[in-house]
Subunit: 336 residues, 2 copies
């Protein structure tokens, strides 16, 4: 006995242009194969969705990238990693110049979850099949070479399996286990599609347990996007340094919610103590306000350095005062 | 016509213990199914590989994490992201306490590429089948919720499809397209295996084009690991700030190779000019040494801030000098 998946990617999908009936093209391409059945997951590349929705621009790629960018996360040489208006952190904001007429660029769909919902509903209306839909895109990632396809839109699908409260066969809690199955489905689709065969459609059969009943579209792929500031890597390493030292309030959010006081304390200690943590006696908390902390610092502590560390940890400096040979610095969480 | 993949994950794999003949267990589990054929990719979770190799420790998870850690990349509250001795950037260094007897932890295999090679050779010797092998592990990622399975070991497999020099059907170059197919295969395997069914083995059939001839094991999954410093996210955002301000030489590498001079210049300008770039007239390059640059700075520029920006950009400060109301600061790449 075994669990079994099948994944197939049909040939013969014609070039898609603005205004095309995507559901008709997809269903045509799958005719003669198994067709679609309840519980299948239908995957389409964001590129054909974008083309059908008219998200193609002539000419300037840089202008298109800027249009899609919410903020630049990291830049080095020719590489620009941005967070785009979908919350996706990607090179070039997901704007792509491959598999499109030379001189044109393709932007991501305006709302890929909505695109997925529309396709799911049309497939159901025309065939009666209750399928999940994933809109895929190709994305690099931190720390690893190459790209994988991920889910940027989804409908009718549990995009992540939540094991919170479940236990493995040994009785261990699986508290933090949250397989991002929509991304794994997108990757499996890419394996069948390839990049050069003109196969933008794929079907994954065998995980009907992830497909929601008709009328339930689920949280969408947007729910796989970590909120800005919910991540430890909201800025590239160099950008983090520059932003913290610049200290613009607009740059705070990607550093995340305020650190707990002892984390701030140990970070400040590392910087002003040339690598040595301050003694905990040097950290005082106001009795009447646990969110106000006073840092006792050596008199020669660099104010810009302390301010940058506080900024990066989500704290705000309230004031400096001399205290004998030392300096005291009052700080509080930036949210208060 | 379509391209087609099949993925299956057999039930009935017994609990694996140190010294077990992994190839025998895997082949037994696949008997009665399709068996294995030339061009299949055999996937096994790192957990059973580790168990067979005796990489299980009783007791303290923190000690095991420390044993596997090369450096801490980011830490916040209970979350610790480290780069481990395999070069993998992962929570808890990849040390896992699930699917193992309570009170024990499983470390990653010592050399998962070698484990994959051994399994590939044993399968070939016992069955004659030329299969690729992937050792999988479950990993979180930056910017996205949840985890996917990735390839941490591989043998006999093209782990990435390289399209450099290839063109799409429109004639556009696919220069940077490098699908990390080994990771997509690992994800597809996870979809069939699930986390609770005790199915550590999976077979992916349909991408025989990725499987290398007998005797060729290929670059392994290690080749998917970006070298330390080859990435824009070598430190968590907060850690980057603290490390740059501390200025320990040991912390340089994860920031990457020295930035080009104009990137350094614009970063310094942003910090000392309160967000305004320095005029380019303020950047002077020594005629006799293009790697030595002199920064003309306002007299009140904060030295610690300038030093931190230089550090994060891979440059080293050679000296400070007064020049009227200004300060000049000589810098050169840290590698020279």
């Amino acid at each position: 006995m075994s669990t079994r998946l099948e994944v197939w990617a049909p040939d013969g999908v014609p070039e898609v242009v603005a205004g095309d009936d995507l559901a008709a093209l997809v269903l045509d391409s799958l005719r003669g194969d198994h067709g679609l059945a309840d519980g299948d997951v239908l995957c389409v590349t964001s590129k054909v969705v974008s083309k059908a929705e008219g998200r193609v621009r002539a000419g300037d790629r840089d202008a298109a990238v800027e249009e899609e960018t919410v903020r630049v996360v990291a830049r080095r040489g020719p590489v620009t990693i941005v967070r785009n208006r979908l919350g996706l952190t990607m090179a070039a904001a997901g704007v792509d110049a491959s598999n499109v007429a030379t001189g044109s660029v393709v932007l991501l769909p305006l709302d890929p979850d909505a695109s997925a919902r529309a396709l799911r509903h049309e497939v159901h209306r025309r065939t009666g099949a209750n399928v999940g839909v994933v809109v895929t895109d190709t994305s690099g990632r931190a720390w690893r070479e190459g790209q994988t396809d991920i889910a940027i839109g989804a409908a009718g699908l549990l995009v992540a399996e939540d094991f919170a409260g479940r236990t493995d066969p040994h009785g261990n809690a699986l508290a933090v286990t949250l397989p991002a199955v929509a991304d794994e489905i997108a990757g499996a689709a890419e394996l069948a599609q390839g990049k050069l065969g003109g196969r933008p459609v794929a079907v994954v059969r065998g995980r009907a347990d992830l497909v929601l009943p008709p009328g339930e579209d689920g949280p969408g792929a947007r729910s796989l996007v970590r909120p800005d500031g919910g991540d430890l890597f909201g800025w590239g390493a160099r950008e983090a340094v520059v932003r913290a030292l610049t200290g613009d309030d607009a740059d705070r959010a990607p550093f995340g919610a305020p650190a707990v006081a002892h984390e701030l304390h140990s970070a400040v200690g590392r910087v002003v103590g040339a690598g040595q943590a301050l003694s905990s006696a040097l950290l005082l908390t106001f009795d009447d306000d646990p969110d106000r902390v006073v840092l006792h610092l050596p008199g020669d502590a660099d104010h810009a350095a302390v301010a940058a560390v506080c900024f990066a940890h989500g704290w705000r400096i309230r004031g400096w005062e001399r205290a004998g040979d030392d300096v005291v610095c009052g700080v509080s969480p930036a949210t208060t």
